[in-house]
Symmetry: C2
Subunit: 325 residues, 2 copies
């Protein structure tokens, strides 16, 4: 069964990998090289889908200095269409909807092959400047034009810790057409469990079927990346921050934390009976961090109860056989 | 090695059980019966120490209605001396210091056998009415009279979540003479890990040896007890609250949560190299909750790396062989 149908059927134990497209300053040839290396690196993971992030300059949502400069990237939709032609699974294209005029978003939706492209709409944060298109308008557009394209939404456990209403936001998004959710990077497992738990209870109370929640994990190879996570609003528990600060090998320590967090959430979602997926994101350009991300996805993938996939190899070569760019 | 020496040597993997003395309205005979049943029930656990709580009416620290009425109990020191004469291990007598005049506290300290009695001083919370004796005065009294009696302090992970200074309070108490700490009941493992982690980092930075931190766990057999935990200021993560609310068997569910939390903290303290202990408290009068507490202590005790104990049986009889009162 393909990804769109599995999500519609509230399928579970899905595996995703997320990448950021190359910077928009690279040549077409370089973008193609990067796409090919990425496909080669990820081919053996047997992913259910490849997530393509749409990077937005969020510097207006946080007055603190951004630890890494904002570098515009190629449009993920264009990167998918033009450079990932050989990629075998569906892609999940993020749309930071405020960046697009309604007619451009509508035109893009019209062109999509629903068997091959899913999309996640990301709304502007409340602190951001006037958006071109609001999330509500984008959802409305989707419903009027291409409701067959599987639509996802973002879930932010940290917001649940602060306002205790993220589960209600998820249900509102679900009512607006979302049939899956992808979280921000998870370091605070308790916050994620609180959200899933409240979401599950609310679905039960309303007689709704919960939709798959895809939890995102990433490795953190340096203290600068840790600062960046904090800047982005990711809650990293103090004990994990301390551990990463004092670890001989920050990357290895964060790999272990992410794996432990994923295992805990997997066990918890299975216990509750909430369908879920795991998304490992690699947004670094450092070889060691990319390798660790791929290894994390491979390890988690082995532990998921997955449907046999057609056309992908059950064997995963060791990391050292996978080329880097 | 006895408990006082093990604590002085920064020993680890200590096992405690905590009880509340009987209500002060019971007869001497009834108090003796309760003491004997308690001793019989706990004998096979091979405890390092028995903790006797000093119950204080804390209703002035929380304007909400107390879910259970406050019922004064026998003084724990008197209960230990008069009724637990046959108990084989040291006892850890709590002293809610604000309840006692300085001269009474001094007189009590003078009488103690340091091989048999350890004490934990509990200060008044900032919201409480003018205390007879402040924590600082009590510590000073201890230092001047019986510094050989091993002194402990309380550790409150929830306070660390709010103020991020509980590790500094622990170090200040350590400098005032405390050589171990006992936490409030732990349901929020992250808060406890944050506290241990910051405490460990601060000790390392100051060149101090960390002292044993004893984590307290309890089972929660009803939603009323859950309310009471909240009233007492115990942070129960939302997902655990939801799980307890929806569980077919609240007691069994809370047993599993407490065991999982204890295992996680045991693994974490071993990883950090911070000496620790586990304290299981039983403050309920319901037979099922008492049995579950004893079983929790037995299970955790089996998983600790413990020194062989003299004079206690390595065999633990099944719960059903232990009489109830």
């Amino acid at each position: 069964m393909d990804l769109a149908h599995r999500i519609a059927a509230r399928g579970s134990e899905l595996l995703f990998f997320a990448v950021t497209p190359p910077r928009d300053t690279v040549t077409q040839e370089r973008a193609q090289e990067i796409a090919e290396v990425t496909q080669k690196r990820l081919a053996a993971l047997g992913l259910d889908g490849l997530v393509l992030y749409d990077i937005d300059d969020e510097s207006d949502r946080n007055p603190e200095e951004r630890p890494f400069p904002f570098l515009p990237t190629i449009d993920p939709a264009a990167f998918g269409t033009e450079h990932l032609r050989d990629w075998s699974t569906p892609v999940v294209v993020y749309r930071a909807v405020r960046k697009y005029a309604e007619r451009d978003l509508a035109a893009w939706l019209e062109e999509q092959d629903a068997a091959r492209v899913l999309t996640v709409f990301v709304g502007a944060s409340s602190h951001q400047r006037q958006p071109s298109t609001t999330l509500a308008r984008a959802q409305d557009l989707w419903a009027r034009t291409r409701p067959d394209v599987v639509l996802g939404g973002v879930a932010i456990p940290e917001r649940h810790t602060q306002r205790v209403d993220e589960h209600l936001r998820l249900i509102a998004k679900q009512e607006a057409g979302c049939s899956f959710f992808v979280t921000q990077v998870v370091y605070d497992v308790n916050a994620a469990k609180d959200l899933v738990s409240d979401y599950h209870a609310e679905c039960t109370a309303r007689g709704l079927d919960p939709v798959p929640i895809v939890f995102t994990f990433s490795v953190c190879g340096s203290l600068r990346t840790l600062e960046f996570l904090a800047w982005l609003g990711v809650a990293v528990p103090r004990w994990i921050q301390n551990d990463l600060r004092h670890a001989d090998d920050t990357l290895q320590a964060s790999y272990e934390h992410s794996l432990a967090a994923a295992r805990e959430l997997i066990a918890y979602c299975r216990h509750l009976g909430v369908p879920f997926g795991i998304n490992v994101e690699s947004v670094s350009i450092r070889r060691a961090e990319i390798d660790a991300s791929v290894e994390l996805a491979r390890q988690i993938g082995q532990e998921l109860h997955r449907e046999p996939l057609l056309g992908t190899s059950p064997q995963t070569p060791p990391i050292s056989d996978i080329m880097s760019f």
